[in-house]
Symmetry: C2
Subunit: 136 residues, 2 copies
DNA sequence: TTTTGTGCAAAGAGTTTGCAACTAG
DNA sequence: CTAGTTGCAAACTCTTTGCACAAAA
């Protein structure tokens, strides 16, 4: 993911956008960042980017399919790079650590359930909540 | 559900609480009301209840296990009577109509996934989004 | 009467927007 | 040059809180 990709979706290649992309990449799998998180990380590396810009950029990325917006229980948005695999999430209620998983069985049932009920499926959101017991 | 049940969970039987309970009951399966919805319904039947009270009461009901709080995509809370069956939701993106379902296969997979990943399962949230095609 | 609940207005959190200054193409 | 982008402050939406008054037990 880089400048070329930004251009491809019709977004000018600017410093804030590149930096935010970089932060999302660096965050990896079990960090699903809030806008605030991204903003703070930018400050830590002495980038002068406003919080409003972070929101705008994340929203644009979402619309461009670069980023997924996740809504966990707290009514606050978390963002992750959209890797294309349509994974779901396991959230630890103690540590807030997030793990990703894909389950073909569930995936299939979801499609069937949508069909059975006369819905034209467009997506789903599955979050499993629990507490991590013995850390691997 | 009535005054007796309120008392059982340690809540005084008051008019706002009874009226809100009544509204939730009347709403039925495919109406998952926001606090605002409940508030407006109260006004429509000429009940003088403040929005803050609606929020307070719904939160108390949630803690008492009378009500479930649902968070769909929009980061706004919807409330429904907690019937005990742990159902999930199908949401129509056009009409916002909500349908409930229970799927044993998915239920089982969720338990397995939690275990496989070393999580002590405490709950989950599954929402399927789609558009209702030919209304039944 | 004592405890608990209520209404109102104000505060709070997260997010969005208007606008003048700036910058990539 | 000029259309798109940014930072800031102000606005907005949903939700919670402080407090004086009111109602339940």
């Amino acid at each position: 993911m880089s400048g070329a990709n930004l251009k491809k979706v019709g977004l000018k290649v600017t410093l804030p956008r590149l930096k935010i992309l970089e932060i999302l990449e660096r965050a990896g799998d079990d960090h699903h960042l809030t806008a605030e998180d991204v903003y703070k990380l930018l400050l830590e590396q002495d980038e002068e980017v406003g919080l409003a810009t972070v929101y705008r950029v994340l929203t644009q990325f979402e619309q461009a399919g670069i980023v997924r917006r996740l809504n966990f229980e707290n009514n606050i948005s978390n963002f992750e790079l959209d890797t294309g695999d349509n994974h779901d999430h396991l959230v630890c209620l103690k540590t807030s650590k997030v793990k990703e998983f894909v389950d073909p069985v569930i995936e299939e049932r979801i499609q069937e359930i949508a069909k059975e009920n006369g819905y034209d499926l467009s997506g789903h959101s599955l979050v499993i909540y629990g507490t991590l017991t013995n850390e691997a």
